[in-house]
Amino acid sequence: MEEIYAKVPCRENQLNSLLDLLGEGDEPLPVSVFISGNMATGKSLCVNTILEHLRFKHVNIDCIECYTPKIMYEAILSGLHDDQVDMKCDSLWELMNNLNAYSTQQYSYEPIVLVFDRAERFRAMDQNIMCTFIRLREFCNLNICTLFVTHLIYDSFHFKMGVREPIKIYFPNYNKEELFKIIFIHQKAFVRHLTNNHEVDCGIKEDLERPELFANFLNAFLSVFYRPCRDLIELQHMARVNFVKYCEPIIKNEIKYNDLSKLWRHIAPILKTSLELLYLRINTSKSTAQSPAKENHEWIEPQSYNFENTLKEELLSTKTFAQSFELPYYAKFLLIAAYLASYNPPKEDKRLFMKNHGKQRKRLQQVKAKAKISEKLNTQLGPKIFTLDRLLAIFYAILEEKIGLTSNLLAQIATLVELKLIAGSKEIDLDASKYKCIVGYDFISAVAQTVGFNVRKYLYDFM
């Protein structure tokens, strides 16, 4: 018992109820159990640890791997039979036949558990299949139990009538203390990760291994990350990345390990910036551009600054990303024109882009329209489709100099489409082609800045 609790920390209640339900020895199993809970709450870990502990015969079926019923049935059968490798099984009926044949070979009332991980995938299959598995025990003479593990709640499965309700167990999220406890268990691994990748003096190594240091770091880390993210896996990953940065000044003998306030001042901006990378899994260990510590260590070899790293750096913010395209001058204006065409209503074009658009007659309707509702803004409803004619008209309106319409210019539109900045057909059919700008405001304002153009001035929403 104790070892299970040690292996699966902070899940005592769930472990107990699962253990109770499954019983021991040859006691009858429940018909089916439905286990739900948010991602990364230890559902599969609990189930597998318990089944290993009880030494029940069990088959794990990952519903992503078994994407057709046939593969799933065959996975079940090959999991049950130890020796036979190849079994053909096409339909539920054959599965039942095989299970019944299996039961006749059985002398005792051996418990068998089928675990369906990511059971939400069942919804992509015929509904009968899950209905049948929920009450599998009624169809075959085995002491069999089906466990469904999923991040969706039972209501989301939308069964038709006639489903036997399974016993439901819910896994709540880990709270802050539990997250702390769980990540803290792996303190040694974090330190090892650190010492393996850096050259560390012996004296400092001892300091790094102190649990207080890690505990302090975790407290600071969770105070920033707990709010937007509760996914243990992601938090663990981010903690690993950031712990290295936390310890950098200690390794370089700049800050003492027990100078908490200095360490906090060092890590706070780093945590803020790495918050932006949550879930994105961009490894920034080599290029810590925003880190103030950066200036102090130029010893990072310039050779390691390869293409991969530059790409990562460019992905860090929209601005650098926009600049990374290095578009030609006219292409930038074309892109801006495309953006304006997508986000402005066509009937306002005249007023926006022409010098002598005449006086606007103020009608009640327009006054009303002026009180814009934020949810109805074009920038929030998404880009609209525009034609090539309109794009070129806006392009010439915003471009101060006069240039001719050359094939070169048209080819640049095709390039923008190719780069996935504009959606549309690649070949330019001057009459029928329709386009849509698919870059965001941040991107376009970064582009506009490089050519000294104010996008906001020409957006209807901001007038």
């Binding site: 109770d20 339900l21 019983g23 040859d26 006691e27 009858p28 199993l29 429940p30 018909v31 739900s36 809970g37 948010n38 991602m39 709450t41 339909s91 009926w93 036949n97 059985q106 002398y107 009332y109 009968n128 209905c131 049948t132 025990r137 002491n143 991040h151 709640i153 039972y154 989301s156 009538m161 006639g162 036997r164 309700e165 016993i167 439901k168 819910y170 709540p172 999220n173 709270n175 920033v224 707990y226 709010r227 937007p228 993210c229 918050l275 932006e276 879930y279 934020s374 949810e375 920038t379 409803l381 998404g382 880009p383 489709i385 959606a423 549309g424 329709k434 386009y435 698919i438 941040d442």
Partner: protein, 497 residues
């Protein structure tokens, strides 16, 4: 407690636990109430088996009211009275598994044990195949033809709306044309099942409906209250047969069962017999009765009185009443009892009334959606609130990410104490909500994505979503959310800003 030491207690408890689990999970024969319906079904089957008459009937009743148990118990009884193995063939089909006609026919062949006779023969039509099977039964023996009992569970699944109902047509046709004595029993929970039948099928059906409704006792023509029914079931499921503990019983024979001696045992204590598991079930589960002989009679008596006292407990009665208010599904009640029994352990040898009522509460109103909402991070919950407000203002119109983000940033800027979160993280949180199906893509955008040209596709920021969680669930979740910042509660309560 009697003078039982700890090790004895633990074996006693384990045996009781196992016995009760077996009884709750495996016993699909014991059937209570509905005497007249049961008699009706019993007559139909015996007429077919003994007198070679043909019948068809539909047994209709809500889920978990004991339809299958009724048939099982009737078959059990008939098998005791007649030679069911030699006189008749029982073919059981389930709509979930055999909804395909070809599969059904294969299964029929297998259950008639005629695979060899059919061999590699190829049949033109379904009817040809079926009549061949029947003729196989007729030849070979000198008697006319074996009676057949067809039991079609999930009958509604056989009524395909798209394909023709060949199987049903043929089966009902045989009951009409008297080719062979056959009894076709359909079991379903759909009351509108007749509308699903084809015209030609409907005309061949005998229109014999047997309705089973829970809590209806036609025997003495008074309606039993669901509560008393539930109590009865609780006692029935949890009580142990005292006969098990009697040492002076004749030793039961090992291995093969014999019905006669089984009934002898039953006769010893007829009130007691209703609490024991039928022998047939035990052999099916390959469980030897002998292992239960270590049960002490005194202990069992103690146990039964404990169960009786449990039913008297006012708190428990209240929660049972609540349960009946929600459901009368016997399967659910059995599941609850199973969970309760599985909590028995040597350190906790009695059923705790409070625990039982907790299990009931959890089953009837588990509120998993509320719990799911509570498991969201504060950022995700804020997005849900933002979306809820937006939908409230615009009267149920779906929203896209940009609108939600706009509302969220408006809130975040107003509260300086809030940590600002970068846009990609918010987008990720939004996608997370979508994965948990708290928000669902609205139908209208789906149809757009079908026309899959590059310009008509919508970027994910502009895809429209509706909130799938009802407002009162969100309210509930926020009310009991642990350590929720006050400004969020405040924001939630101030709808229009």
């Amino acid at each position: 407690m009697h003078e039982i030491n700890a090790s004895q207690l633990s074996t006693q408890i384990k045996l009781i636990r196992k016995y009760l689990k077996l009884k709750i999970i495996e016993d699909n024969i014991t059937f209570r109430d509905h005497a007249s319906e049961r008699k009706h079904v019993y007559e139909l089957i015996t007429k077919a088996v003994l007198h070679g008459e043909s019948h068809s009937a539909l047994i209709i009743g809500p889920r978990g009211c004991g339809k299958t148990a009724l048939i099982n118990s009737v078959l059990h009884q008939v098998s005791k009275e007649a030679d069911l193995v030699n006189d008749a063939i029982v073919v059981k089909l389930n709509g979930l598994i055999h909804h395909d006609d070809k599969v059904a026919l294969k299964s029929i062949t297998a259950q008639m044990q005629l695979e060899n006779a059919v061999g590699d023969r190829v049949f033109g039509t379904f009817a040809e195949n079926l009549s061949f099977l029947l003729s196989c039964l007729m030849s070979g023996t000198d008697r006319r033809c074996k009676s057949m009992v067809f039991i079609l569970e999930q009958f509604d699944m056989f009524c395909h709306s798209t394909r023709t109902q060949t199987l049903l047509y043929n089966l009902f046709d045989i009951t009409h044309s008297k080719q062979a004595p056959m009894c076709v029993l359909g079991v379903t929970n759909r009351i509108d099942v007749m509308e699903l039948l084809e015209k030609r099928v409907k005309s061949r059906f005998s229109h014999r409906h047997i309705f089973i409704f829970p809590n209806e006792n036609t025997e003495n023509s008074e309606v039993k209250s669901p509560l008393s029914n539930c109590k009865e079931m609780l006692v029935q499921c949890l009580s142990m047969p005292l006969a098990l503990g009697r040492r002076d019983l004749p030793k039961k024979r090992k291995g093969r069962k014999s019905i006669v001696s089984n009934e002898e045992v039953m006769d010893i204590d007829s009130t007691d017999s209703q609490y024991s598991i039928p022998e047939q079930i035990l052999t099916k589960c390959r469980t030897d009765v002998k292992q239960f002989q270590h049960l002490e009679w005194a202990f069992l008596e103690d146990w039964n009185s404990h169960v009786q006292s449990l039913v008297q407990d006012q708190k428990l009665v209240d929660s049972l009443e609540k349960l009946c208010y929600y459901t009368v599904n016997e399967q659910i009640i059995k599941d609850i009892l199973f969970q309760t029994v599985s909590k028995l352990s040597p350190s906790k040898p009695y059923i705790d009334a409070i625990e039982l009522s907790n299990t009931i509460d959890e089953t009837v109103s588990s509120e998993q959606r509320v719990k799911l909402l509570q498991s969201l991070s504060i950022l995700e919950l804020s997005l849900v609130i933002a979306m809820m407000h937006g939908i409230e203002i615009f009267d149920g119109q779906p929203m896209n990410f940009e609108m939600v983000l706009h509302r969220y940033t408006k809130f975040a800027n107003a509260n300086s104490s809030n940590q600002s979160v970068p846009r990609p993280v918010v987008l990720k949180a939004f996608e997370h909500l979508q994965q948990l199906e708290i928000i669902m893509p609205s139908k209208s955008t789906d149809s757009h994505t079908l026309g899959d040209t590059s310009t008509s596709r919508v970027q994910k920021e502009y895809k429209l979503y509706t909130l799938a969680a009802p407002v009162h669930d969100i309210k509930e979740a926020i009310k009991s959310y642990k350590a929720l910042p006050t400004e969020i509660t405040h924001w939630f309560n101030n709808t229009i800003d």
